[in-house]
């Protein structure tokens, strides 16, 4: 019986296809990724059963910190540029190109308009350390509606623009109410509140509805 010769094969594996796949995935992640914008304050959002996702485009975010300071930010960077340019011209702030660039890079800013220039002169590192005062929302003197008006202008009255409120668990309703009233007065009647997910308690009507529609599993209930 002849000996069966086992052919000697190279142990090398061709890495090219694997590499292709890896780069394909890399490209996908690079294009789809959206870095978490660093926030001026840490906000712990309350939990709710709501599963509606935060719209990705055209979001005007109003952040309210624990101590009642109000911050305002736009999701779109180009719109942020237009917004700050408009604010700068109409309030005669005379912001330089560098200061405008600084605003573009900041996610949310909570400064009274007259102190905006002073804040934007700082480097991003200094801005992070700086304790922002918050946008005034008192009924006697409030600037939030100006920000909202200019945002609507920049968006050409696009109905897709969403107003989102992100407030902390321990924010007093007093401040939230002031913000809601300003939004209402400016005819923005649909507001989104950012919440963190919680499971639907069993035995409640919402639980039954979710069970019937088969969405329960995705909620982890």
């Amino acid at each position: 019986m002849p000996k069966v010769k086992i052919a000697r094969k190279a142990t090398a594996v061709d890495m090219t296809p694997m590499c292709d796949v890896a780069f394909l995935l890399l490209l996908f992640f690079m294009l789809t990724t959206k870095f978490k914008p660093d926030e001026p304050v840490t906000v712990v959002t309350p939990s709710a059963i709501s599963t509606t996702l935060l719209p990705q485009a055209k979001v005007a975010l109003i952040t309210i910190s624990k101590d009642g300071r109000v911050f305002f930010g736009l999701s779109d960077q180009n719109q942020r540029t237009a917004l700050i340019q408009n604010i700068s011209t109409s309030y005669k702030l005379g912001l330089s190109a560098k200061e405008i660039r600084n605003y573009e890079l900041a996610s949310s800013v909570g400064m009274p308009i007259d102190k905006l220039k002073q804040f934007l002169q700082m480097t991003p590192q200094e801005q992070k350390k700086y304790n922002q005062e918050g946008i005034p929302v008192d009924s006697m003197h409030q600037e939030l509606s100006q920000w909202l008006d200019y945002t609507v202008n920049v968006n050409n009255n696009d109905p897709k623009l969403k107003f989102v409120i992100k407030a902390d668990d321990n924010t007093k309703f007093d401040v939230v109410n002031k913000v809601l009233n300003i939004l209402k007065k400016d005819n923005h009647h649909q507001v989104h509140l950012i919440t963190s997910m919680k499971t639907i308690p069993p035995g409640t009507p919402a639980y039954e509805t979710a069970k019937q529609s088969g969405t329960l599993d995705s909620n982890g209930g």
Partner: protein, 201 residues
């Protein structure tokens, strides 16, 4: 590294002159692959995996004309009052009945679903369906005082979603509401509720 070149033998020594070595055209892809996966890993970690969830809140138009306002029937309404320090009170109706006898009509409760406001909503819900048919006829009026926290408000709004209450109104508590809470608290020997600003709305 991983590529073992079997073609290279020891035959080269025989040739004289400067003939260049025949090099394999294959490039080892392993390090490149490593780098690519490392980068993928980085993007996967930094990317916001879960988009934030939102709860929709509709702010109704202010109606000046009283004829256009929605009238709420006393029998179909449940009013929830929220004070500071996680205090929660409720009464049935829109306040006309409760104002007559705050000490007995206003009830103290908690934010808990079981044994708290959740059960109250469920009970009211059942009684409204029994008495007046449609489940959509029940109206919950949510009245947070200035000292109530955002968490409290969202928690009650969430209860509306949990119990599928279709009609609810978020109205800031008035001076009268605060007076009623304080009367109730006085009746049970408690000091008045803490409110950041004493002035009315």
């Amino acid at each position: 590294m991983a590529d073992v070149d079997l073609a290279s033998g020891s035959a080269d020594k025989r040739h004289k002159g400067t003939r260049s070595k025949k090099l394999s055209t294959r490039v080892d892809m392993t390090p490149m692959c490593d780098v690519a996966f490392l980068l993928i890993f980085f993007f996967m970690i930094t990317t916001t995996l879960q988009r934030q969830k939102t709860m929709n809140l509709y702010l109704p138009h202010d109606v000046k004309n009283e004829d256009q306002q929605n009238k709420v029937k006393e029998s179909q309404a449940l009013t929830i009052l929220m004070g500071g320090d996680n205090n929660l009170y409720y009464y049935y109706g829109i306040g006309t009945e409760a104002a007559k006898d705050p000490a007995n009509k206003i009830v103290k409760s908690t934010y808990a679903l079981k044994g708290g406001i959740g059960e109250v909503i469920a009970d009211k819900w059942n009684s409204v369906i029994k008495n007046s048919g449609g489940r959509d006829s029940m109206v919950v009026i949510i009245k947070p005082t200035k000292a109530a926290t955002y968490e409290n408000v969202v928690s009650v709004l969430d209860d509306m979603n949990i119990y599928e209450v279709k009609k609810y109104a978020l109205v800031p508590a008035t001076v009268n509401d605060k007076k009623m809470i304080n009367l109730k608290r006085a009746a049970s020997g408690l000091p008045p509720i803490v409110d950041s600003t004493s002035a009315g709305q």
